[in-house]
Symmetry: C2
Subunit: 362 residues, 2 copies
């Protein structure tokens, strides 16, 4: 993968919706914006972590907010690049490379728009290996890097530079501003030099997203085979197949929170399953039995096509396959689990890996 | 008034509590901090608007938040000067003069602390001629000046630079951050050059506050005479004397909002009065009859000593004299009334000056 063209955007959008575990912002809007940016400014050059130079300034560009809002409050091109420009002004330095802070949903596509417009290369890596709802849930935070200066912008023309005390305060202040800005905003945080970025990011996740998109869009093979190729690539599991019989979603604290209940179909007939989410899917259960928990990945796919369905697009009656993948090992360290494990989100149980949970189950 | 020493701080604190119309932050904490700063760094030089040079950078330093919080979450010296330093960094320019954004309460004292610590002169003027609860309620806003860059800090070590679209967005974003920071924060906004400041501020309000303090602290004369001297100086009126029989206060949207009910005492025996406030006193009524409304000033004084009582220090059973003063003419323009008149605060009636209301009454 050397350049991102319009076709690559199509694939990345699909793959990132899988890795986004239901969140990361609706990729549909991002896809349209990224394709438009590539038409206007040309394809985006991609560089690998190995190609990164030690003194290059690498800047993650992302959208913050509740996905429920993003699908109605569409970001402007200006909104995506203003944090980058505000950052350059604050640092008195030019940005060399942009990267996605998370590979999930719209946030895999935001940096493509910024890179295209600014004529900058994009790094094939991210700082989550998935999507997470909060700003400090990044490998940079796990590795002790600080987010400041954090820059933000909205579509109304407001811009901000934050010098938060640490990653958690960055999340708190940026979230408060995002809510005030109308529920969504664009952000640059954890701008680091190449030498630091190399030690901390999860490499090749942009090409991984593209590859997943390739599997799921492959018209030459049957739907179930497409899904199987993806599961194999991600070392994943089918948790269950079901029909959505209840869905509860509310906007709270700047997040889309809620739960979905499923009646099993096909092999899972007669069984009941539940998913809990905060922007992203966090927990999958059958009755009281845990099937998978954050930081491992949970994705909801259309039962027929294998196409991913984001939390805000889940609808009563939809027939879905719910799958799970192991997270990157960085999330399985004590700091990783403290930062994004079930207890952080208020659940009263410890993390158990999806591999172990599946072994118990079979 | 050429220098502010510890004695001057005592007087300013009293006078500013009167002009603060119940708000502007509790001056007690600010007084202790300002006196401590003067002991540590020496008296603060005061300059008049006439002495201001056209190219001097004048920076208002203030505290934002609910007074209810400030009396418990005491600001640090560092918190008061960090916005100034963050501003210098953002502008790449040194600050020449500090000034109070409002003459009310703690915000008349915050800039004294900053000026002492930084060895800068302080301007004898402010941008309200009183205290108001919201950041855009300043003469700078009435005169079309923009607040950006707005800098903020808290006691935890967080700092922020805002580039808000306009004065109203400055208030919204800064208020959201203040709430997240724990209910109070320090702010620099509307940093302007001397040539602009001259055209917009209300001059000599710092010496006015000191003079009021002088009257009320004058042990040579009787209490009622002290109050009369102050009323004469401010062209004010006694609205009523009463005992607080009910007080309702709540923290909402980052403000202390509420109302107080009074049973008349002395000449007002048998009558009932009400005050409505949002940090500052906004409306005084007898039954349905309006006695005084924002932007004119309402102050609650101890019935015996004439000492001002802030909204958060009002207590059941307290015997008080409630007085009112005409606001500066800038607040009586259409833009002034639109910005800080009763309708802005959600009251369904037009502004009538306290002079007219008093004429009707007598």
């Amino acid at each position: 993968m050397r350049y991102i063209d319009e076709q690559a955007v199509e694939k990345i959008a699909i793959g990132a919706a899988v890795l986004g575990t239901g969140g990361g912002g609706d990729p549909y809007i991002g896809k349209l914006m990224a394709k438009e940016a590539i038409r206007k400014y040309g394809p985006v050059k991609v560089i690998t972590v190995d190609e990164l130079k030690d003194d290059q300034l690498v800047v993650p560009v992302s959208g913050m907010g509740a996905p429920t809002v993003t699908i109605e409050k569409i970001p402007s091109e200006q909104e995506v690049t203003t944090p980058l420009e505000t950052l350059e002004k604050a640092l008195g330095k030019k940005v060399d490379v942009v990267m996605p802070i998370e590979i999930g949903g719209i946030n895999s596509l935001f940096p493509i728009i910024a890179a295209a417009k600014k004529g900058l290369p994009m790094l094939d890596a991210d700082a989550m290996g998935r999507a997470f709802p909060e700003a400090q849930m990044v490998t940079f935070h796990l590795d002790g890097f600080e987010p400041a200066p954090v820059t933000m912008a909205d579509e109304k023309g407001n811009a901000v530079v934050l010098y938060p005390k640490n990653g958690v305060w960055s999340e708190r202040l940026a979230r408060a501003l995002t809510i005030e800005m109308g529920g969504s905003a664009s952000v640059c945080d954890y701008s680091l030099l190449g030498r630091d970025v190399k030690t901390s990011v999860i490499p090749n996740t942009l090409s991984l997203a593209e590859r997943i998109g390739e599997y799921l869009l492959d018209n030459e093979v049957k739907e179930q085979e497409r899904m199987n190729s993806m599961l194999k690539e991600l070392k994943g599991y089918r948790l269950f197949e079901g029909k959505i019989v209840d869905i509860e979603r509310r906007l709270s604290g700047g997040f889309t929170r809620g739960m979905a209940t499923f009646e099993g179909i096909r092999n899972d007939n007669g069984r009941t399953f539940t998913l809990y989410f905060q922007n992203e899917h966090l927990i999958a259960k059958e009755g009281d039995k845990l099937l998978c928990t954050t930081p491992d990945l949970i994705a909801v796919l259309d039962a027929e096509t294998g196409f991913p369905i984001t939390t805000e697009r889940m609808k009563y009656g939809a027939r879905v396959a719910v799958v799970a993948f192991p997270c990157h090992n960085k999330w399985r360290t004590p700091k990783g689990i403290e930062t994004a494990g079930p207890r952080y989100f208020g659940y009263d149980f410890d993390y158990t890996s999806v591999e172990e949970l599946q072994k118990e189950r079979s």
